[in-house]
Symmetry: C2
Subunit: 210 residues, 2 copies
DNA sequence: TGTACATCAGTGAACGCGCGTTCACTGATGTAC
DNA sequence: TGTACATCAGTGAACGCGCGTTCACTGATGTAC
């Protein structure tokens, strides 16, 4: 990945991708710190160390950048989940399973703020809503089988369609992250997730393992 | 309330309050439709039918307006809850109680979008976070006793501090509203809330009622 | 491996507009008699 | 109840800046021989 052969039209591509990446990184910073309302093309470029011309050579508009940022971050999250769950979810009881799920889903203030704004946009703009829904679905598709397997190992199975189960968990987790980041005390923390998980799964009598 | 006597310094006050109210209403519309990033002092004034001078006669800055908007909307929500819960929560089982709670908490796309943006701000700005936390606490304080009473009536009581119980419920509800407004299918809807409520409460053997 | 050449990516200056902010002014609103 | 007066709220014009957007140009990057 690092020293891959240039490829046919890598001439153009390479530098471009680097600038795009730098612009996206800068955008994440600026958006995370200032919010969309205070983020100008100018401020992103300054942060990235480019002139505005470079921006317009890569993106059509600020909205374009934001969409690209969301896509890239969403993909990164899915990758992260995929990677970390490669070995499956360990744990011998519900709480442990929940604990491991929580470790995989990061709690990042900056990104959460950006995501909240993106959600707000999705509530207004069907296009943004579709993008968001797609990402969420992909994330669930990634989590579902691993979660089901982990549950199976501790003698439980979903009491509703697996995708619904994951959806409920993610929903609860989302609210939880917000609550945590706002500093509403440690409170009921993971217990909400454990309880949710318990409510939407059921024990089953296992066939005798060989 | 409609034809109250003017009062000592109502001269000034009356017109002012009306303009303030109109500006706030316009701001809710504009913010809800366009988002903070696209909402200018200009656009709010235009919507409200005022010139910009009127704005600056009432607010120092856009942030000021937004803060006032949040405060006023939050207060309105608390009022609504207070009013509707005056008679207590009816219901003979958990699902019914949940159903009534859901009726009290409105699902308003526009306001939810504004709230999401406000949450994002709170994740960055301690001042905004404090305001948000205060409102949330007030809302919980309003809900808690009524909920506990309703639970008592069906033979249940919180298994955790009442405020925690409400917090978990509100958290779950928040995620649920988002999910619903994004159109993620009816799915597990209220069942998440019922399950949550069930998990964080316990039956108790009632003293024989006189 | 070196050199001439073509193309592409980012530069930086320039333009202009939207809009935040100010302020002298006017009309509205209430008070006093 | 009517009239003169004081004050306050909103008007609208003016100023200027930040920044979005464009574009001719230059230096970087790769290709061909």
């Amino acid at each position: 990945m690092t020293t891959a052969p240039p490829g046919p039209d890598a001439r153009t591509t390479r530098r471009r991708e680097q600038t795009r990446a730098r612009l996206l990184a800068a955008a994440l910073d600026v958006l995370g710190e200032q919010g969309l309302a205070r983020s100008s093309v100018e401020s992103v470029c300054e942060r990235a160390g480019f002139t505005r011309g470079a921006f317009y050579s890569n993106f059509a508009t600020m909205d374009d950048l934001v969409a690209a940022l969301y896509t890239s971050q969403a993909a990164a999250l899915v990758d992260r989940v995929t990677e970390r769950l490669g070995a499956g979810l360990p744990g011998t009881d519900l709480d442990q399973v929940v604990g491991h799920v929580l470790e995989v889903l990061p709690v990042d203030r900056q990104w959460h703020a950006v995501r909240a704004e993106f959600t707000a946009q999705a509530l207004r703009n069907p296009g943004a809503a579709a993008a968001l829904a797609e990402h969420r679905a992909r994330l669930r598709a990634e989590l579902a089988p691993v979660l089901v397997a982990a549950l199976h190992r501790i003698g439980r199975r979903p009491a509703v369609p697996a995708d619904d189960l994951v959806r409920v968990l993610v929903t609860a987790h989302e609210g939880l992250v917000t609550s945590t980041l706002l500093g509403e005390g440690p409170g009921v923390g993971t217990r909400l997730l454990s309880a949710t998980l318990a409510s939407f799964t059921e024990e089953f009598t296992e066939e005798v393992p060989s």
